[in-house]
């Protein structure tokens, strides 16, 4: 480096100038609205008028007395946890299959990625048709194979509708989780596995005692993204059931939308959406810990 230090060589100035627009966007249009969302939840703001008053915990007191909200909160937890359990099982199993070589693997991989690529609202409308009360192909197939004798009203029965929502969410997320698990499977040093085979460890032993523990940080990342994608998703439930029948299948985002936007009660909508924060904070803390552990591990290597 020469001793001449003009403005064109000042890394701090250049760095600041190049970072400023992104920082401004993130602060003004994510940071400020984020705190505005929380602030609005303490107000009686409506969509129609600009004036509002602070109402303290009024919105929270109202929704916590509201059985529809409590049901939505419970549904959000059930759907998020149920989906992740299904996704972990499907993704680790699918990763074991797709690490092997077999004929037609390229085609299979392409098809596996389809659920991840399709816009969520279009996937949801396709599933709405698949779960149709009169024309459901699932019902036809179950009846034709003799597994079903009555009739399943997939989106008309609260419990079945929740199951349908979990199936669609898991279908949407597991290909992504599979690819992440696959990527990290290939990063496990071959010597470790060979040593285990020499020592006589079978497939299941290798899977549960060597691969899964080594995969844990990566599976954790996949699960965390999965939690964010499921807990905060509005499209699937909005299109599949619209929160119905009789408001039994709402999740937090759809209820927040119904009250805040359709009902024009921004304050209450914001208060409902704020209950998404615990999900996100847990995810953020867990991600930081995973990242730090990976950093320590990387330094030791």
């Amino acid at each position: 480096m020469t001793s001449r230090r003009t403005l064109a060589d000042r890394e701090d100035v250049l760095g600041g100038v190049m970072l400023a627009p992104a920082l401004a966007y993130v602060v003004l249009l994510v940071g400020v609205p984020f705190f505005l969302a929380i602030a609005l939840s303490f107000s009686n703001a409506t969509a129609g008028s600009l004036s509002f008053q602070w109402t303290g915990l009024g919105n929270y007191a109202a929704i916590l007395r509201d059985p529809i909200f409590l049901r939505a909160l419970r549904n959000s937890v059930v759907v998020t946890v149920g989906t992740q359990v299904l996704v972990i099982i499907l993704a680790t199993a699918a990763a074991q299959v797709f690490r092997a070589t077999f004929r037609g693997k390229r085609v299979a991989r392409f098809v596996m990625l389809l659920p991840w690529a399709v816009p969520v609202s279009l996937a949801a409308i396709a599933w709405t048709w698949i779960f149709d009360s009169t024309f459901s192909v699932i019902n036809w197939t179950l009846k034709a194979t003799g597994l079903l004798h009555g009739w399943l009203y997939w989106l008309g029965d609260p419990a079945l509708a929740l199951l349908a929502i979990i199936i669609v969410q898991a279908w949407r997320i597991f290909p992504f989780a599979t690819v992440i698990v696959l990527a990290s499977l290939s990063s496990i040093p071959q010597e470790i596995l060979e040593a285990a085979i020499v020592d006589g460890a079978g497939f299941w032993r290798r899977l549960f005692q060597i691969e899964l523990p080594l995969l844990l940080p990566v599976v954790a990342v996949a699960v965390l993204f999965g939690v964010v994608y499921t807990a905060t998703d509005l499209g699937v439930v909005y299109i599949l059931t619209g929160g119905g029948p009789a408001n039994t299948t709402h999740v937090l985002p759809t209820l927040a939308f119904q009250r805040g936007i359709l009902g024009a009660d921004l304050g209450q909508g914001a208060a409902i959406a704020v209950f998404l924060l615990p999900f996100l904070i847990v995810v953020a803390i867990a991600m930081l810990r995973v990242a730090r552990r990976a950093e320590v591990g990387g330094a030791a290597r």
Partner: protein
């Protein structure tokens, strides 16, 4: 025996993942009288064409709905968002990776975390902001708000991408007498091209997939994007034109799937960078 199990499992996963797309495909080209037979009639097999295929739903979609208008709207928003994202996120990513020193990593992580703040938390304040700015029911509202999703992730993507690009090329240019600024303007862009390409593809797919903000801001049918218009405006009252609906879903999914198949490895790199680096 083991091979049989492998193929059975591979087939099972592929069927589960692909089944809704098969259903879109067969619904798109089925005649109505073949489509609307109740599932309790076991003699009519819904999995196959019982009558000859037809193009009537495709014609309905392109001729009598606003589908092409929505495609046009979507492309317009995509183009604007891609330009904004590249102009803002690429310099920021470079700055964090090469100029910000020890702070770059932490600041990058902080920006990435804002990607986790979901539209379903922000749509309430945005609904207010958009109406204060007088942008309700306009494509401009989407063009303003969508970069809040693309910029954090793409900044992170570019930062991570630059970590894998050796510093030596830029260093050599400086030894050759380039100023730091000249390196950024003349040397660095060539090095980042693959990263920029990923940013474009990611922004493109994200805009095509977005539903929440579009649902919140847009109410006129002629301002809708594909992912909003198809599930909302193609359903007239209680009448679902399933043939046209599935045709729209199919024709939108196919190009996206091809793009994903090509770029999936880069996305995964971006997502797992925090966990599997080193």
């Amino acid at each position: 025996m083991k091979r049989v199990a492998l193929y059975a499992a591979a087939l099972g996963f592929t069927l589960f993942a692909g089944f809704p797309f098969y259903w879109m495909l067969i619904t798109t080209f089925k005649q109505n009288r073949d489509l609307y037979v109740g599932a309790s009639d076991l003699s009519h097999i819904p999995w196959i064409f019982n009558d000859p295929p037809t193009l009537e739903h495709v014609k309905l979609l392109f001729g009598q709905t606003d589908f092409l208008r929505w495609v046009l709207n979507t492309l317009l928003v995509v183009a604007a968002v891609v330009v904004i994202t590249v102009a803002v996120a690429v310099p920021a990513g470079y700055s964090l990776a090469r100029l910000a020193g020890r702070w770059g990593e932490r600041l990058g992580m902080g920006i990435f975390f804002t990607y986790l703040i979901p539209p379903t938390l922000l749509f309430v304040p945005f609904a207010r902001l958009v109406s204060v700015l007088g942008l309700q029911d306009s494509l401009a509202s989407l063009i303003l708000i969508y970069p809040t999703m693309t910029i954090p992730f793409c900044t992170w993507l570019v930062m991570g991408f630059l970590r894998s690009v050796p510093w030596e090329i830029e260093e050599q240019a400086m030894i050759d007498g380039y100023s730091r600024l000249a390196v950024i303007v003349k040397v660095a862009p060539r090095l980042i091209v693959p990263g920029i390409l990923t940013v474009i593809v990611f922004s493109f797919t994200l805009v095509l997939q977005e539903f929440v903000y579009a649902l919140t801001f847009i109410s006129s049918v002629d301002k809708m994007t594909v992912s909003l218009g198809v599930p909302i405006a193609l359903v007239r009252g209680d009448v679902y034109h399933w043939g046209a609906l599935m045709a729209a879903a199919l024709f939108t999914s196919i190009p996206l799937a091809i793009v994903y198949n090509v770029f999936i490895d880069r996305f995964i790199q971006g997502f797992t960078m925090g966990a599997v680096k080193g």
